[in-house]
């Protein structure tokens, strides 16, 4: 069965520090991968999605970047965090087959930038 791992669960970082959040998927190959941010009490904002290695689309101009060094690994990074980067970050994957629209989410990372 497929599983998605996202870590860390919580993170407190000072303004100006770097960021690296990692997400890995097991049990499937060539998944579509997604990074979302969720502000408190709000919906999900799509940040990046990837349909393959070296194929990453950015949805919103921001202080963040994403990379996909391996087929089932998706990393969200920042060189210098801003206060506004605080939020709940969610990684998700979907298949590339018939059920490609259904997304499966990780447990999320709560990031606090102080």
């Amino acid at each position: 069965s497929q599983t998605i791992h996202q870590w860390p669960a919580t993170l407190v970082q000072p303004v100006g520090s770097p960021l690296s959040l990692e997400c890995t998927v097991e049990g499937t190959s060539n998944p579509n991968l997604y990074w979302y941010r969720q502000a408190a009490g709000r919906g999900l904002q799509l940040l990046f999605y990837s349909i393959g290695i070296d194929q990453i689309s950015s949805e919103v101009p921001q202080n963040l970047s994403a990379s996909r060094p391996q087929d089932r690994q998706f990393i969200l990074s920042s060189k210098k965090l801003l206060l506004s980067d605080s939020g709940f970050y969610l990684c998700a994957w979907s298949t590339t087959g018939i059920a490609k629209n259904i997304q499966y989410f990780g447990a999320g990372t709560r990031l606090s930038v102080l």
Partner: protein, 112 residues
Amino acid sequence: SQQGEEDPQALSIQEGENATMNCSYKTSINNLQWYRQNSGRGLVHLILIRSNEREKHSGRLRVTLDTSKKSSSLLITASRAADTASYFCATDGDGGSEKLVFGKGTKLTVNP
């Protein structure tokens, strides 16, 4: 742009009652999905309804879709305290896209 918009934003009911949440969207879709999120957790897919379907059931869940009105509803029957969560609708935006656009969600509280 925000595609799905749920209402109400918050709903509080007693255990055993039915809960109805609504979602409206703006563009044509191939399908519409509902997800559930427990506090501080990731989203979990509940049900998908295709644009050529009008109603779909899964256990205590009933979803309807009216493409002429660009709206959907999620009904949870005989609610339980464990149903307390936020519920989001999601659409595939321009149709057939790998991307989903989520609404802001309805926060459901089921009181025991």
